[in-house]
């Protein structure tokens, strides 16, 4: 099955009101080209599940988010995500704030088609009081404790960025960490993957390292989009690091007069090609140093 499609066509499958899961972590391997295409659309009222970075900030700034399911939003070296902050501080989004591991369990539950997974996480904290929908359960076995029933985080669409994919949806992540991307792919009804490079699967045959870098079966990939540098300004190891200068400009825009509109006018008026040129061009991005944590 050929799943290769254009970025525009892939994003038209996203409708207002859907629940979206976004892979990556903070400033790391975020499917930003897909997010930017979403920003260009008129989709709104999204529920977003993310280990958040600028994906969350931009979608909030553009008014696309009705509800955010999150444990944090951060640009890592700039600890506080500027537009996520604005959205929270103005009370403009509904939130379900949970622990990082709870989010993982919610995705696992959805991936395994379970209604919930019991956990001790959240007990004794305001995660429970701020999320009155989170229920406690008792063990059917011999046990005197309450457990938090972390509900499945079922996703309509998962957005993931990888370094290599073939047209049938075999996706390789050669970065040190896949984060929770495999869980997003499994928790989502449909998954859109953007890839730095489209490969012929033959190139992986008899290369166990390449095959071990595939974390979900191609049946979990619905659409494949060729999006070189599609994680920018987040990192896509081992190919390029995050763009610290761009993140600084992005964070500064949140405090400037034009705010989000100013950022949008400067970088997001054209297509992805225009974006790459506006942020300094392909060569400059490929030179971005890999991050040191």
């Amino acid at each position: 099955m050929n799943k290769l499609t254009s970025i525009e066509s892939a994003i038209t499958s996203i409708e207002s009101g859907m629940t979206l899961g976004i892979g990556g972590w903070g400033s790391r391997r975020k499917p930003m080209a897909l997010v930017r295409e979403l920003l260009r659309s008129d989709v709104r009222d999204l529920t977003v599940v993310s280990y958040g970075g600028a994906d969350v900030g931009m979608l909030c700034a553009a008014g696309k988010v009705r509800k955010l399911i999150f444990a944090f939003a951060s640009l890592d070296f700039i600890p506080l995500e500027p537009y996520f902050r604005q959205a929270r501080q103005s009370g403009s989004i509904e939130v379900m704030e949970i622990d990082e591991g709870m989010m993982m369990l919610g995705l696992e539950a959805a991936a395994r088609r379970l209604p919930f997974i019991p956990t001790a996480i959240g007990l004794g904290t305001d995660v429970l009081t701020r999320n009155p929908d989170l229920k406690l359960v008792q063990s059917p076995y011999d046990d005197s404790r309450d457990w938090v029933a972390m509900p499945a985080l079922e996703l309509d669409v998962g957005l993931i960025h990888v370094d290599r994919a073939d047209a049938r949806g075999v996706c390789q992540i050669n970065a040190p960490d896949r984060y929770m991307d495999d869980l997003y792919a499994r928790a989502a009804r449909t998954t859109i993957v953007s890839a730095e490079e489209i490969i012929e699967v033959e190139s992986m045959h008899n290369d166990p390292h390449a095959s071990r870098a595939v974390y979900w079966e191609r049946s979990e990939t619905t659409q494949v989009v060729h999006a070189p540098l599609g994680a920018h300004p987040s990192s896509c190891q081992p190919l390029y690091g995050h763009d610290a200068a761009h993140f600084k400009a992005y964070a500064a825009s949140a405090k400037a007069d034009g705010g989000w509109q100013g950022y949008r006018d400067q970088y997001l008026t054209g297509d992805e090609k225009a974006y790459i040129d506006a942020v300094g061009g392909e060569d400059a991005i490929r030179e971005l140093p890999l991050p040191v944590y």
Binding site: A71, M102, I121, L123, G124, D126, P176, M180, V292
Partner: protein
């Protein structure tokens, strides 16, 4: 041997792991990371540590630009596996909360009205899961009533010794909080009824400094000793772990 307050603070903080056994030591932020690294290089060589990215390393990675240094990776430790470790309980983290209350409950999420916070910070991150699964110590660079708040913290991100929030089937003694290290002193929550207890004073801080800058009562038991001075060995290790002296500005 001359040393700075920050050196003393890091050495005191590293004591948090002395008796932790063979666990993953995680220090979030520069001072906790150096403290964990120092502990692994001295008081507790059984500790495990990551490169703060995706690998368990056989020796702590120096902070800052690495030059020719290559990490001594021994196994993969991406985020999903970190949670496997956390849920198994074999970890002791040191974290930097924005607020801490008399129950040892900590907050890094937000300040003010939850619906539209005055200050939105990170979110609860891994605090809820960490605090119910393994010991955590706290580092506070600037000890004040804004951090050690009078009432409860605004968003309880990690469980503490609050009887009103104790989950069914739990005893207060099931909750474990390690040490609290601030610029002023070293503390634990082992006072009467898990009250914050002053163990020693850093630099030239006084008991009055602690009392004036804490929003709740602190257990002060007799004469409080000064925090130990760093040893020559510790200072030499710190110079290796922090070759660019990033710690110089760590206390603000």
């Amino acid at each position: 041997m001359t040393y700075r307050l920050v050196d003393q603070v890091i050495c005191a903080a590293s004591e948090s792991w002395r008796d932790s056994g063979e666990v993953l030591a995680t220090g979030i932020g520069l001072v906790p990371r150096l403290a964990a690294s120092l502990a692994m290089c001295s008081s507790n060589p059984d500790l495990m540590m990551t490169d703060s990215e995706a690998w368990i390393v056989s020796e702590p990675v120096p902070v800052g630009p690495r030059g020719d240094y290559t990490i001594r990776a021994e196994t993969w430790m991406g985020f999903s596996r970190i949670f496997s470790n956390v849920w198994g309980g074999k970890r002791h983290a040191m974290v930097g909360p924005t607020q801490i209350d008399r129950f040892g409950q900590a907050n890094i999420s937000c300040i003010g009205d939850y619906a539209a916070p005055k200050v939105q910070m990170l979110g609860v991150r891994g605090f809820p899961g960490n605090s119910i699964n393994h010991p955590n110590s706290f580092f506070v660079p600037a000890h004040s009533k804004r951090v050690f708040v009078e009432g409860e913290v605004d968003m309880v991100s990690s469980i503490g010794f609050n009887p009103d929030r104790l989950p069914r089937g739990y005893a207060l003694d099931d909750i474990v909080i390690g040490r609290v290290i601030t610029n002023l002193g070293v503390f634990d929550f082992a006072g009467p009824d898990h009250q914050l207890r002053l163990l020693s004073l850093n630099g030239d801080a006084t008991v009055d400094d602690v009392i004036e800058n804490t929003g709740f009562e602190v257990c002060i038991d007799g004469d409080v000793p000064p925090t130990a001075a760093p040893t020559t060995e510790q200072l030499a290790l710190l110079a290796e772990l922090d070759p660019h002296d990033l710690r110089e500005r760590a206390l603000g």
